[in-house]
Symmetry: D2
Subunit: 344 residues, 4 copies
C-alpha cells in the first residue's frame, strides 16, 4: 500500500509499505478515506521532532473498518469510523479512572519514537490498536473534513475549555489562534463564554477568530493585559487557554487571566520555561496542563458536531490526492492553506 513517509527535514515521500495486519485481539485495520495534515505533523516535517526516514505520518483520519480482532466490540467491519490521535491501553490505573491521556502505555500515531513508534494514518490502510477506545462511528451525514477533527484538534480545544472549568457567563482568553486555538475559541463560545479573546500576532488568524465571534487582540501591537482588561472591567479573563506551547505564550496567558483564574495549557511544552511564579503566586493562579483527554471527550464532541453546534468552519480543508502529499506538505509548511485533506 502507499503511505506518506518522512524522508528528511523538509521532505516527505510516497512510499510503498506492506499492508498492516492484526496483531492483537483488540486491533482493527482501517481503510483510510481522508487523512488530515495537522500543524503537529509539521514538527516532524521541519525536523524538530526527530524520527527515522520511512516512518508514516499522520493521525487525523476517517475511513472504513476492514478487519477487526475478536475483542473489538464497539465497531464492526464495514463501519465508517474516525479515530483519536492517541491509542491507550484501557487497563492501567489512569485509564480505569477515565484519565486516558495519562495512560502508562499511551502511543501517538505518526509521531515516531516519541509517540511509541505507532505508524501514522496518511496511508491507504492503518493499523489501529485498542480499537474499542480509539475508534468511533462517524455520525450519519457528518462531512469527513469535520469528523476527522473530532479525535484531534476539536477534542483538544474542547478539553482546554473543560479543564479550565469555564462557567457560562465567564470570559475566556485564548493565546494562539492556530487550529487548536480556533477550536478552543469555538468551544469556549459553545460553553457559554460571555466574551472570548483571541490573542495572536498573525492578522489573518485574528481575522478568522473575529469571524467566530472572538475579540481579536494583536499580540505585539496591543498590551494584551490592558486589551483584555478593557473588556473585563480591568479584571482580566476568568480563564486563559495557552494553545501555542511557548514560554512567551504562557507568560501572556498568566498576564491576561484574572486573580484566582485558571490557565489551561494545551500547547505542547518540550522544554523548561521561565515562569513568572511571583505573578502566579501573588495572583493565586491555577495552572492545568497536559495532552487532551480526547478518548474521553470524543463522544461529546461528535454529539455536538452531529447536532450542528460545532463545525469545521475555518478549518475546512483543501482536498488533494494522497499522491500529492509532498507538494501539500510544502504548501502547508508555507502557511498557504489552513488545512489539507489527503484522499488515498
Amino acid at each position: 500500500m502507499r503511505a506518506v513517509a518522512f524522508e528528511r527535514p523538509g521532505s516527505v515521500a510516497i512510499v510503498d509499505r506492506p499492508e498492516p495486519e492484526l496483531l492483537a485481539s483488540d486491533d482493527a485495520v482501517v481503510r483510510i478515506e481522508a487523512a488530515g495534515i495537522c500543524g503537529s505533523d509539521l514538527h516532524i516535517y521541519r525536523g524538530r521532532v526527530p524520527t527515522q526516514p520511512g516512518f508514516t505520518l499522520g493521525h487525523e483520519y476517517v475511513g472504513t473498518v476492514v478487519a477487526a480482532g475478536d475483542a473489538v466490540s464497539r465497531v464492526r467491519v464495514g463501519d465508517r469510523v474516525l479515530g483519536t490521535f492517541m491509542a491507550v491501553c484501557g487497563a492501567c490505573g489512569a485509564c480505569r479512572r477515565g484519565e486516558f491521556s495519562l495512560c502508562g502505555g499511551i502511543r501517538l500515531f505518526g509521531l515516531g519514537p516519541l509517540g511509541g513508534c505507532l505508524q501514522g494514518t496518511q496511508a491507504e490502510l492503518a493499523l489501529v490498536p485498542h480499537a474499542n477506545l480509539t475508534l468511533r462511528r462517524v455520525p450519519p451525514g457528518l462531512p469527513d473534513a469535520t469528523a476527522l477533527l473530532a479525535g484531534d484538534v476539536m477534542a483538544t480545544g474542547y478539553h482546554a475549555v473543560l479543564a479550565a472549568g469555564l462557567v457560562a457567563g465567564e470570559t475566556c482568553a485564548v493565546v494562539g489562534a492556530g487550529a487548536v486555538g480556533l477550536c478552543a475559541v469555538m468551544c469556549a463560545h459553545l460553553a457559554g463564554a460571555a466574551a472570548v479573546f483571541a490573542i495572536d500576532s498573525v492578522e489573518p488568524r485574528l481575522e478568522i477568530a473575529r469571524s467566530l465571534g472572538a475579540v481579536a487582540v494583536h499580540h505585539g501591537e496591543h498590551d494584551c493585559r490592558r486589551a483584555v482588561g478593557a473588556h473585563t472591567s480591568g479584571r482580566g479573563a476568568d480563564v486563559a487557554i495557552e494553545a501555542v506551547g511557548s514560554p512567551d505564550a504562557l507568560r501572556t496567558a498568566c498576564r491576561v487571566v484574572r486573580k484566582g483564574g485558571t490557565v489551561s495549557i494545551v500547547g505542547v511544552h518540550a522544554e523548561p520555561a521561565a515562569v513568572a511564579m511571583d505573578d502566579v503566586f501573588i495572583r493565586g493562579l491555577r495552572i492545568v496542563a497536559g495532552l487532551a483527554n480526547v478518548v474521553a471527550h470524543v463522544d461529546r464532541v461528535l454529539a455536538l458536531m452531529a447536532a450542528g453546534r460545532l463545525q469545521a468552519g475555518p478549518l475546512a480543508a483543501d482536498e488533494v490526492p494522497l499522491a500529492q502529499a509532498p507538494e501539500a506538505y510544502a504548501r502547508f509548511d508555507r502557511r498557504e492553506t489552513a488545512k489539507i485533506l489527503l484522499r488515498p
Copy 2:
C-alpha cells in the same frame, strides 16, 4: 405612593401607601420604572401562599435609585438598576461562603410573612435592603423587559443548569416549560447542551420551547422516558431540571435522567412527596434542590444579556400602566399572556 396590594384570593387592588424611607445604612430606595408580574406572584393571588390584605406584591423590577444609605457603595443615587428577588444579609456563614440563597436572614420581596414581610416592588417606590448585594446597574442599552429577568427567572434557569453541573456536549431534560423552565432551556443551550428536551403537557408552551431549539416532549401523550431515550441511545438525559415543583414533575425528572445523572430542582416544593427512592438508589442519581443563588449569578447573567447571548425572547412582556394591575393579574391568571410588565 401607589402600590399593587393583595386584597383577597383572586383580587389585587391599587392602594395608597406611605413612601418608603431608609431604615439601615445599606438600604436604598428605588423609583420603580417597570415591574414584572411573575408566575410566583400567582401563588399569593390564588391564595395558596397566605398573606395579609394590603401587602404589596412583586419582586421583578427595573428602576432608578433615589436614596441610598451611607454604606451603599456599589450603586449610587441616579443609577438605573435591577434587583434580585431576594435580600440577603451578606454577613452570616452561608453568605460568607457565597451561598447567598442559604442566608440565615433571607427575605423575599412581595411574598408576605413567608418571605419575611418584605414589601414588594409593584409600586412607585420600593425599599431595598442590603442594596450592595440586591441591586445591580442595568447595562447600557438593555431593555427593561430583559433586564428585570436577570435577578429572577433567568438567574433561576441559569442556576438550575449550573447546579446540575451540565458539561458542554451533554443532554438536558427540562420538566416544565413555564417561565423558569424556558429560561432553563435557554441556559442549557447556552452552556453547550448537545440536546435539550422540554417536557410539558401544554402545547403552546412546547411550541415556544421548540422555537428555542428544544425537542418537545408532550407529557401525557408520550412516555417521557422512552421519548428522551429515543434521542439518547436509550440512556436518558445527562441532567434533568425540575422546574414545576410537584411530585409528578420530580418523578418524571428522575425517570428521564440517565443512570448516574443529576436532577436539579428549582420548582418550589412546599410539601412532602412520594419519591421513587428505589429508582433513585438503583440508578445512582444525584439530586440538588433549593432556591436559586441569584445574588451570586446575576452578574454573569447580566454579562450574557449585555453580550446578546441571553434574551427575553418568549418572555418578552405586554406592558400596561400600574393602574391596570387588577385586570392584568386576572388576564395573567387565565394564562392569556406569557408575561406582563407594569409601568408605574
Copy 3:
C-alpha cells in the same frame, strides 16, 4: 466442592456443587480461605430478596487464585486475593468513566437473580468474572478478617464519605450503626471530621460507635436534630450518611443535616419513600445515592488498611468452619454476633 446455599427462608444448607471452571478469558477461580457473612446476606436468608433454593450465598472473601484466563494480568495463580462484592464489565460507558457501580452489566455475588445470578463465595471455590477489576492482592501481613472488608462494607463506608464531599473540619452524622454505618464512622473520622454523630436505636451499636470516637445519638430517646444541633451551634451536621435504607432513616438524615448540606445514601432503598421535599427544597439539600463504587475505591481502602489507618476493629469476626454455616447464619440472624467468618 462444598458451598453454603439458600434452602428456604430461615435456612441455609451445605451442598455439594461442581467445581467452577473458567468461562471467559478474564475469569479467575479462587480457592476461598475465608468468607464473611454480611448483613446483606440476611436479606436472602430472611426471604426478603427472593432467590432459588440451591443458590450459593456470600460476597466477602479472601482466597488464593488457582486458575486464571489468558486476559487476567493484574493477579496471578498463587496470589492471595480479596474481591469486590460486584463484578463489572470494564468496557461500557460508565466503566470507562471509572463509575463502575453504574456499569450496564453489573453483577453482584451471591444475590440470586437480582444480582445477575452470580454464584456466591461462601464455598470452597468461586468463579470470579472480570478478575482484573474484581480481584486485588492482599497486602502482606493484613489479617483476612480485615482484608475481606475492603471490597465490601469498608469500601462502602469510604464511598459514603467521599460521595458526600466531606471536608476535613466538617461534621458528619451517620444514620444507622450497623456494619456499613460503623465503617462510615471510621472513614469520616479518617477523613478529618471535627465530629462524627452516630444515630441508632440499639444501645450496643451506639456503644461501639462511641468506642470509635463518635457522639452517640439514641434515635427514639433523643430528638436527633436537636441532639446534633447541640454540638454544631444549632446548625446541623455538614453531611449526613444514610446507612439503613429506610424512609425513616432518610427522613432523619434530612433533618440532622445543615442547610445546604449533603445527604449521602448507601442504605439500600428498594421501594418508593415519602420524602420531606419541602424540607429538602427550603433548606437547599443535595442528595447522592447509589451502590458504592467499590471497584474504584478498593485500592485506596487497602492502602489505608496496610498503613494501619483503617482497621476491622468492632467488625472483627468470629471464625467457624464452613460446615457450621447453618448455625452461624442462625446466630447472626439473632444478632448474637457482629460478624462471622466461615473457613472452608
Copy 4:
C-alpha cells in the same frame, strides 16, 4: 504602648507608640496577650522584605477585645480572640465568592508597605480592621500557643491540603519541613493520607516530621523521586505541597508528584522561576498557588483544634516577655528554637 519594631536588618527594638484607636465602624482594638514570632517575620528581620524603621512586626496573636466599632457583630468587648494574618474587605467580588485571599483590598499585618502598611501585633495593643472577618473567639480551654496558629501557619497547612484536593487514601509529599510544612504534614495526615512524605535537607526538621508520622526524605542525600517512588509502587505522590517558595522546591514538588497529580504551592514566590514545563506538560500536572484563604478556613481549623484533632505539637513555643523580643528574634534567626511566643 510598647511594640516590637523593625530597626534595621538584623535588629528589632522595643519602641513606644501611641495606642491605636478605632478608625472605622468595623474595627476592633485587641489587647495582645500572646504574639508569635513566625518564619515570615524573618523576611523583614533579615532585610529581604523592605520596610521602614519603626514599623511594628507580627501577625500571630491571641488577646482580648477592648474596643469595637458599631458594625462589629461577631465578637464583643471582653472576648478572648485570635486573628487571621490578613485583613480583607468582605465586599469585593472575590470576598463575596468566599475567596478572601484574593481580596482586592487585602492587607497583611506587620509586613510594611508590601502588606498595605498594617501595623503588626507584637505589641500591647493592635488595631484590627474588618474585625467580623479577622477575629474569632478562642474556644474554651485551647492554649494560646495553639490558638494563635489557627489564623496563620496551621490554616496555611490546611489550605495547602484542601487546595490540592487530597482524597483519603492518597499519598502526599510535603516539600519543606518548616512551620508551614509541618502543619501541612499534620493536615495531610488528618485528611486521611495513606502516607505523607516530608522532604527537607535539615535533619532535625525531618526528625520532627517523623514524629508526626511522616516518611522523611533527605533532600540531597536521597534522589527524592526515587525515594517517594519506593513507597508508591513507582508512581509518585498523588499530591505535592511546596512549602518553601523556591525554584528548587518547586522543581522537587513537580518531580515527586505522580502523573496527573497536583502541586499545591503555599511557599511564597517573589521572583520568576525556571519551571520544567516539559515535565509539567508531559506528565499532565495541575498547579495551584497563592496565599492561603485563612479567613475561610479558620473556623474549621479551630473546630479541629477544639476537638483535639490538630495540635501545636512540635510548634509549641518558648515563651518570653515582650521586652526580650530583640534577643528572641536573634535566637529565632539562628534557628535555636522552633517557635517563640512573646508575652506583652
